[in-house]
Amino acid sequence: MSMINYASREINCKLVYYGPGLGGKTTNLEHVYNKVAPGAKGKMISLATETERTLFFDFLPVDLGTIRGFKTRFHLYTVPGQVYYNASRKLILKGVDGVVFVADSQIERMEANIEAMQNLYDNMAEHGYDLTRIPFIIQYNKRDLPNAASIADLQAALNPGWPVEDAARQRPLADPYHEGEFLVGRTQDGEWIERATYFEAVAVNGEGVFDTLKAVSKLVLKTLG
């Protein structure tokens, strides 16, 4: 829920990084924190356990600067990965403007990815939000590992697409980030489906982190226009 404050001339947007435990959500935020210019970032807050597992959330405010008189800021949050922290996961989604799902590419983590994705849909629905109608990006992390599943397998499991019912939107939309792929297209059965944009990443060395953040922030800003 972005808020435009005309009194303080501020626009704040909330981005949430979601996904299975140890998938790299906090690592994404840490990379952003380490690389963004000092004047553009606030303090990074981590509510974590002694073993550095996220207990409640990580939080990082990033300032875009003053645009047309409005101080524009993104609030980046992560949720805890473990299922038993679901109550806190759900709280963080309140008022979310854009979601990044950080999937762990390792074959062994496929089930955890699917479970987290289902949990994301459920928690969004409990807030009354529809994931297919808000800015949503999937990041396939840990692409450097030898046991990483293929993108085709990950897409089939986590991003199979949702039906496009609005006739006005039933037209091919190419994926601007992957040549020859589509975001809106037809299946072999002739059904129109839409998929979330995805990025490959190795968050631990920063690869793909800013591509993901750039894409989701632009989608969020578009919803304000």
């Binding site: 409640f56 609030h75 807030h127 939000y129 109608r133 226009g225």
Partner: protein, 163 residues
């Protein structure tokens, strides 16, 4: 069902809110009053300017309130309308406003919890009225920015997030 609804705060509403907060601070002798929205964004402040980072404060205050909301439900209460955190010299009192906003009062030994609680009650009522009217007036229509803003914002994103 769609995404979260956006909202905006007009200057006139902000002024009304600050007048209410300032009157409350005078009557209660509290230091600072802050309004934080439930998603963790600072809405308004009055009184002594806080020395901490307001953005961080707002996100933690909202999380604190939300977590306690869930604790209330676990013990069979619909909600905790207010929370109190006691420190040695500085303390905080948090109260719900119209289920959308949280009033956070910072006070020290110049006043007492009793006086803060007593004065906060009327202010919560007045602020709830302002916010309820404001949300009813907006009718859930999402605020919009001009197209030029979007173009400039995209450029800034490329600059800031370019490696």
């Amino acid at each position: 069902m769609s995404g979260a609804s956006s909202w905006s705060l007009a200057e006139a509403d902000h002024d009304k809110i600050v007048v209410l907060l300032t009157a409350f601070l005078r009557e209660s002798n509290a230091r600072t009053a802050l309004l934080v929205d439930r998603t963790g964004q600072m809405v308004a402040t009055a009184g002594e300017p806080p020395e901490f980072d307001p953005t961080t404060f707002a996100s933690l205050a909202a999380a604190d309130f939300s977590a306690n909301d869930q604790l209330a439900r676990l013990i069979g209460e619909p909600e905790f309308g207010s929370l109190f955190h006691q420190g040695e010299t500085a303390s905080m009192y948090l109260a719900d406003i119209a289920r959308r906003v949280i009033l956070v009062v910072l006070f020290d030994t110049r006043t007492t919890l009793g006086l803060v609680k007593l004065r906060v009650r009327g202010t919560v009522g007045d602020l709830s009225k302002v916010f309820t009217e404001m949300f009813a007036r907006d009718g859930g229509v999402a605020p919009r920015v001009e197209q030029d803003f979007l173009g400039d914002a995209e450029d800034e994103i490329d600059k800031l997030f370019g490696e």
